[in-house]
């Protein structure tokens, strides 16, 4: 009886706010799915039956498993806050989490039933997320956050295309590459909101009231436009057979330049090196480098495209997700972000993992070693994060507030 009651309390705590289940499974699955992949690469006879092969499973789980979990956790929490609308009901959070879980389990089954299960679960998951987000984003009188809506819709399109290709015998990978592009654009949209608070708070903390950080829309829109165009051209090239590689290459270089251009908003002096500012800035730098490598590879440099893609994924997506897990994942549980030394270390380790994974593209002879080294750092960072976040997110809030409410004004500063 006691244990059933404890279960209930735990489950209620987990479903208190959308980010809780999704941020936890993102960290856990980010580490676990990559460990499985590395073990299989090293020759362990794992998951040899998954549809489409293990490479496709790895790509799918990292983009639509890990990436989408973090994205949904962020949106379920941020959209009601940004739009001042009602919190997402607990039932929705539970249903969406269950769908996500079903999609992961389905991915482990072989054959057509597994593929259909994943397809149904994943499509319903994103359609459900749209159903939650659309009325809130559209109902906002100023409609300032519609970019999230378009991003979610585009992601749903990628998921549909992916599963149509898997079930119909087409090429599914281009749809995952397109999903990466959509996630990159969504990261720019989300970071522009997050950075406004983080950088200005850091400026205030430094007593630098004269400066103000502004994520300027024209610069952001140029970056989003370049990323979206690159995604569309690459996808059109792969699915329609248009000779797109060099065209996409130039656009990738343009996206890199447009992302570097975002740095102009950030160059406000030493505040750039503040604890939460530098990691966010590094996200843009790594994304720019990722597009730079992608562009160079598409234009004929002897470099695999996967090097650039992994800089986007490990660096751009991994680092931004890690930072969001650490900021939003604590503030909305009623505690301040950590001030200890672990987070800077983890950021450094993720950047190192990105560099190592990119290096594997330059030194094919060393690739297996570099994959394991890079993956090991990634697994370590997200495992430790999960271990540290679990006690906070699986228990009821200790500050007396409910739902997704932020840190109370009079709360004591973090350790």
């Amino acid at each position: 009886m006691l244990s059933a009651a404890r279960w209930r309390v735990g489950l209620e705590a987990l479903l208190l706010c959308g980010f809780r289940p999704f941020f936890l499974v993102a960290a856990a699955w980010g580490a676990l799915a990559l460990a499985v992949w590395l073990a299989a690469l090293s020759g362990a006879p794992l998951l040899s039956w998954v549809p489409g092969g293990l490479l496709l499973w790895h790509a799918h789980e990292m983009v639509l498993g890990f990436g989408v979990a973090a994205l949904l956790g962020f949106l379920l929490t941020a959209v009601p806050e940004f739009t001042g609308s009602a919190a997402v009901p607990r039932g929705w959070t539970a249903a969406l989490s269950a769908l996500w879980l079903v999609a992961r389990i389905g991915g482990l089954f072989g054959g057509a039933p597994g593929a259909w299960l994943v397809a149904l679960a994943e499509t319903t998951l994103l359609a459900g997320a749209l159903a939650v987000a659309a009325p809130r984003l559209w109902g906002d009188p100023e409609r300032r956050h519609l970019a999230f809506l378009w991003g979610l819709a585009a992601l749903l399109g990628c998921v549909l295309g992916y599963h149509a290709a898997v079930l119909g015998g087409g090429a599914p990978l281009p749809w995952l590459y397109a999903a990466v592009g959509v996630l990159m654009a969504l990261i720019v949209v989300a970071l522009s909101r997050i950075s406004m608070r983080v950088v200005n708070a850091a400026l205030e903390e430094r007593g630098d009231g004269a400066q103000e950080y502004l994520a300027r829309p024209p610069r952001r829109n140029l970056a989003i436009f370049c990323i979206a165009l690159h995604t569309a051209v690459e996808l059109a090239g792969a699915t329609l057979g248009a000779p797109a590689a060099p065209v996409a290459g130039w656009i990738a270089l343009a996206a890199a330049a447009a992302l570097f251009n975002l740095g102009n908003d950030w160059h406000l002096g030493r505040v750039l090196f503040a604890r939460w500012v530098l990691p966010l800035y590094l996200v843009y730098v790594l994304m720019a480098l990722g597009y730079l490598l992608l562009g160079a590879a598409s234009l004929g440099f002897a470099l695999p495209l996967s090097a650039g893609r992994h800089v986007l994924m490990v660096g751009g997506m991994g680092l931004s997700i890690y930072v969001v897990l650490n900021i939003a994942g604590r503030i909305h549980a009623g505690v301040q972000p950590e001030s200890g030394p672990w987070v800077p270390w983890a950021v450094a380790l993720l950047v190192t993992a990105t560099v190592l994974r990119a290096a594997a593209g330059f030194a094919p002879g060393w690739a297996p070693v570099l994959w394991v080294a890079s993956g090991g750092l990634w697994i370590g960072v997200f495992t430790v994060h999960f271990a540290r976040a679990w006690p906070l997110l699986s228990r009821p809030r200790a500050d007396g507030q409910s739902g997704c409410a932020g840190v109370a004004e009079d709360a004591p500063a973090a350790r």
């Binding site: 370049c226 065209v247 343009a254 160059h267 004929g300």
Partner: protein, 262 residues
Amino acid sequence: MNAAVRWLAGLPAYLWSGWGAVASLLLCLALWEWLAGFYGELILPDPRAALSTLAGLLAGGGAWSELGITARRALAGFVLALAAGSALGLAAGLSMTAAMMSRPVVTVLIGTPPIAWLVLALLWFGAGDGTPVFTVFVAAFPVIFVGAMQGARTVDGQLAELAAAYRLPARMRLTDVYLPHVLSYLFPAWITALGISWKVVVMAELLATSDGVGAALAVTRSHLDTAATLAWILAVVGTLLAVEYLLLEPLKRAVERWRSTT
């Protein structure tokens, strides 16, 4: 000294702000690459072919001397136009009568196509430096002249009277009242004229000389070498962009800052 230090300190931020321009130029290259996919190598080679041809030309060393010759002619014509246009324009602006008299002349000068001047110059100066320099001068002069004249005409009369009433020293009157205002007209005119010079000189060389970028373009045209033609065009446009963004734009900003602080 202070200005130089400030300029140097602002340089990284200024250069970094160029990424947006780089992004839109790269998008143009993507468009070019896309169009090149529809046409053959002969009609429109892709940007990579043009860029590698340009790299070959630059590495061979020949391109630098051609660019140098073209730059010399363009700058010679531009400097002559700058000196004559600014001086005469300011002088014309000081007198209502002179302004009235010069207006139709300037209209004629602006209206005459540079190619007409080029034919005349060929008859007068023959093949050599004289023809492109003269054509550049004639094309750039009216633009600078009009800018200078308007600058001089529109000086705030009340401000000038005030300066006279307070017996401002002549030097102060010049640097604080007249010069900032006149420069705000002159500077854009100079920049426009420099762009015109660079374009006109290539055209003049194409028809009139045996060396310089324009002559090189004539050769690539006769060889039907589209890649090399595009490479030379890239060289010309690249030089213009470099001069515009690395030299003139920072100068313009410095002048504007000076204006806003006075």
